[in-house]
């Protein structure tokens, strides 16, 4: 919200696609996919991710852990790029 209310722009496109950004399609399988586990630094998120890591490894899925410096700010660009480069999927532990 800006000082004078929400910032609104006019859609420059032919308006054939929805204005909302689309989610990426759901993965059909985790086979051959490295899964990133992102701890956003909220309390006990690590416990949840530990459990997920165990379960995923049991299924033979490769896992890599990541951590945001603080939950109060968006993930730093470097971290997002590292995750995007290394992983095919990411699970984010959101809350306490």
């Amino acid at each position: 919200m800006g000082v004078d209310g929400p910032r609104v722009v006019l859609d420059p496109t032919g308006e054939r696609a929805p204005a909302r950004r689309e989610r990426l399609p759901r993965l059909a399988s985790l086979e051959g996919v490295r899964v990133g586990l992102l701890d956003i630094s909220k309390p006990r998120g690590d416990l949840f991710l530990d459990r997920l890591e165990t379960r995923l490894r049991e299924r033979g899925v490769e896992v890599q852990r990541f951590r945001k410096p603080t939950f109060t700010k968006p993930a730093p660009v470097d971290l997002r790029q590292e995750i995007a480069t290394r992983c095919g999927a990411v699970i984010e532990a959101l809350a306490d």
């Binding site: 929400p6 420059p12 496109t13 032919g14 308006e15």
Partner: protein, 484 residues
């Protein structure tokens, strides 16, 4: 241009618009009080509903009435009959006010005449916001609200609306200001834009012109370019889809070049001039955003070229030895035009020694021969951009454009033996049947000659085309519709 919704009606009789911040309004306050007391005067006040004293003024601090009735100065005095404005006076002039009101002896002790002040409804700091408030509803484009934490510039990148460079956020205020650059209705359809074949309105062109960084006065050129690009002859779809590097190249002729400050001189193809840089970009953004033509998707160019961000330049008509290109292409002199050419990037032709036209024409021909491949003929058109120091040679020798073009075509009749596959140890080339013939590099009319560039330099430039002719893309010249 956007017409606002129907204006709020005015009361019959005398109507005045004032603001306390205007010394002339303060000066005539007693006159207004007298006219109000005698009946028949309604006062709209723009900044202070308590002004003028002794008058029950109507509050127009929202400026709706002032904006809709195009009040430009205060005080403005109107005479309204049956809801229709019959007379209008700006500022204070005793004789005129007495004539309009029919009341004698107004403002004894006041000077005969005082100019007014600017109306708040045309204040530069408020005008665009007022236009958005009162006329924004007439825009049809979908509104996209940016999330509170989104950076404006980043948000537009993420939505895929840019060509890789930052764009100007197309707010209602900016789009309405852009539409002031044309008298056309925002909902007029300009063209059907490939590859998705989407009908594109003047408004959508304006939104993309804002993105591109255009000023409103460039909009007529952009509209003409969009129209020209979307013709069957120009074949923007094929040009977009080709693996070759070409994109639309815009050549502007006519007085509009100077009115909007285009650069036909030094660094004509380069950076630094806003009109040159943004007009071609606006066309490419229309094709990207409205038409859905995106690199790597329908755009299959192997290399592309930097001009695909936008490539637009004017001809230097003032110092040219020749008539404008637009006139050679059959348009009347003095008419604004944009010529679209399917072109790659420009390449320099150096000849620092030729002082006679025949020698220089031979240099041009030798370079033109190599276009795309020295052994490929009749497949591509070309723009030959003659620099001023080369143009002087033709001027002094009395060669007009047609003579230069004709000589180039003669010099570019190539022996078939040099063109066949395998000749000179190169597999590329034409069929054996070419032997024993002389064949032209370019089709008739396939060399467009323009005059541009500036300062020192015995240089010209060539811009290679893409598949020329009716099976590919033909240059298209489009008249730029005047504002009204």
């Amino acid at each position: 241009m956007v017409q606002g919704p129907s204006p709020p009606p005015l009361p019959d009789g005398l109507v005045a618009f004032v603001k306390r911040d205007c010394p002339t309004c303060v000066l005539v306050a007693p006159v207004l009080a007298r006219l109000a007391a005698e009946g028949g005067l309604t006062v709209y006040t723009q900044d202070d509903p308590a002004f003028p004293e002794g008058v029950e003024a109507r509050d127009d601090t929202g400026l709706a009435v002032s904006w809709h009735h195009e009040i430009e100065a205060v005080p403005t005095l109107l005479r309204v009959q049956d809801g229709i404005e019959k007379e209008r006076l700006l500022g204070w002039h005793r004789g005129e006010w007495e004539a309009l009101t029919g009341v004698e002896g107004l403002g004894p002790g006041l000077p005969e005449w005082r100019p007014g002040c600017g109306s708040l409804s045309v204040d530069p700091g408020r005008e665009s916001a007022l236009r958005a408030r009162f006329a924004g509803a007439t825009l049809r484009s979908r509104r996209v609200e940016l999330a509170p934490q989104e950076d404006e510039a980043e948000a537009l990148f993420e939505r895929g609306w840019t060509d890789g460079l930052p764009v100007v956020p197309p707010t209602e205020e900016r789009v309405l200001a852009m539409l002031e650059g044309t008298s056309r209705d925002p909902q007029d359809v300009v063209a059907t834009v490939p590859p998705d074949l989407v009908p594109c309105t003047v408004e959508k062109v304006a939104v993309n012109a804002v993105l591109a960084g255009c000023k409103p006065e460039y909009l007529p050129v952009v509209l003409a370019a969009v129209e020209a690009a979307c013709t069957d002859a120009f074949n923007a779809h094929g040009l977009l889809a080709t693996t070759m590097p070409a994109g639309p190249v815009l050549i502007v002729n006519g007085p509009i070049r100077r009115r909007i400050g285009m650069n036909a001189g030094k660094n004509v193809f380069g950076q630094g001039n806003r009109a040159n840089s943004t007009i071609g970009r606006a066309l490419q953004l229309v094709i990207r955003n409205v038409g859905g033509g995106r690199p790597g998707d329908v755009d299959r160019a192997t290399h592309g070229n930097p001009g695909k961000v936008g490539f637009c330049f004017p001809e230097d008509e003032e110092d040219s030895p020749w008539e404008p290109l637009s006139v050679s292409l059959g348009k009347p002199a003095g008419v604004d035009t944009v010529t679209l050419f399917p072109g790659e990037g420009p390449r320099c032709i150096v000849d620092q020694l030729a002082r006679d036209p025949e020698s220089l024409a031979r240099s041009f021909a030798a370079n033109l021969r190599t276009l795309h491949h020295p052994k490929l003929i009749l497949a591509f058109d070309c723009v030959l951009a003659v620099g001023p120091e080369h143009a002087r040679v033709f001027r002094e020798a009395g060669w007009d454009r047609a003579r230069l073009a004709s000589r180039l075509h003669e010099l570019l009749q190539i022996p078939g033996e040099e063109l066949v596959r395998g000749a000179d140890g190169m597999a590329e080339g034409g069929p054996e049947s070419a032997r024993g013939k002389r064949l032209p590099k370019f089709r008739p009319g396939g060399i467009l000659i323009v005059h541009c560039g500036g300062g020192a330099g015995l240089f010209s430039a060539m811009i290679g085309g893409w598949a020329g002719g009716s099976l590919g893309s033909q240059p298209v010249i489009q008249e730029i519709a005047p504002w009204a």
